[in-house]
Subunit: 193 residues, 2 copies
DNA sequence: GAAAAAAAATAAGATAGTTTAAGAATTGAA
DNA sequence: TTCAATTCTTAAACTATCTTATTTTTTTTC
């Protein structure tokens, strides 16, 4: 199991001893996903948080009438889960699916809780993770509220150029909260200029 | 300085000794705000996080063309700041203004950092605060993307009935990302039924 | 490398939400 | 208590975005 990327990620914020690292390693499972595989489905239990070693995942919500809304993408070096349901032991609200073949490391809720107890500074690490996630989400909210679709699209291209290159127009539209047809027409306008 | 509410808030997640409580108390300042007073203005420094002892605050973003978007409200027992700018020492992106007269406790970034060092379990407390904030924001994002304005309005009334009673229609519209005129017409439709 | 499947483009008609503007109702400050 | 300011309502014209349907292009699979 390759955990280099993971510990590079964690050590950005706290420093772990070799013993602590190997303790964490003992709590992890790994999973290889093919394109389109699901690691989480709406309505099912959500006992894991995933660290992305490689590949690209997409979390999305299907509303009762089948409309697809992308909650987030996760590239290499990102953490992903349905946080609310993971933390509170609730059935998942969102689906998480591999957009590209993925290699992920899985940490269960029980293991995470044990880390908070056994390695107290892990609280600090996760606090920073949550701070960043909250700020990112808040910024997205401000932009969704204050900008028209075209500007949101340009913001997305600037902020996540790698992701923009790996996902379909449909998935970008679903992230921006517009229809693929409308995004297609936005692209077309831009070309015109 | 009345800190009962504050420690009730903190002790929901960690338990503090009397010594720790009085240490925290020594780091706090308090502030009384009249209606419409600002505790934060876009572009200015954002060195504090505020705990609301009483009253009601609103954080909002004014885009270049003057459109007002409400980022959050904060009632008694809530924490509020421009989190991204507070944590990273950046000029504020949002304004925070008293909707009703307020009594708030102020904690500086430097004091918060010192708490993370001196009372390590404070990391746990703040982690949980950030988890909740992130999940709340994510849920709001899903609803904004997947629901029409009328449903978002009903969701707001159900989730925050107290706030709905204390703020203007204009401010609710600004939170929902629609114009006051359109919210007024939604209200009118509902009355019709 | 060809057939099948999925994605993207295009276009016309429909709708949710905005803009502007004016009058009615509330609210706040003196 | 009154007056000025703000907020709320209403309505018509307008626009961004959606829906539906068809065609073209790209991708996947056998």
């Amino acid at each position: 199991m390759n955990t280099d990327q993971l510990f590079k990620n964690i050590n950005k914020h706290i420093s772990l001893s070799a013993v602590e690292e190997s303790h964490i390693r003992s709590l992890l499972a790994e999973k290889h996903l093919s394109r389109n595989d699901y690691i989480l489905k709406q309505g099912e239990a959500c006992p894991f948080i995933y660290f992305v070693n490689s590949g690209l995942l997409r979390a999305f919500f299907l509303n009762p009438s089948g409309k697809d809304n992308t909650v987030m993408f996760a590239l290499r070096d990102w953490w992903i889960t349905d946080m609310h349901c993971f933390l509170n032991g609730l059935p998942a609200m969102v689906n998480i699916q591999a957009v590209k073949p993925c290699h992920v490391l899985c940490l269960s809720k029980a293991s995470l809780d044990s880390l908070f107890e056994d390695i107290p500074k892990f609280n600090r690490f996760f606090r920073i993770l949550m701070q960043n996630a909250y700020c990112r989400e808040q910024l997205r909210m401000i932009q969704n509220l204050s900008l028209p679709a075209k500007d949101r699209y340009e913001g997305f291209l600037t902020k996540y150029p790698q992701i923009a290159n790996m996902v379909t127009l449909k998935q970008i539209a679903s992230y921006l909260g517009i229809t693929p047809e409308f995004l297609s027409s936005i692209r077309n306008q831009k070309k015109g200029k």
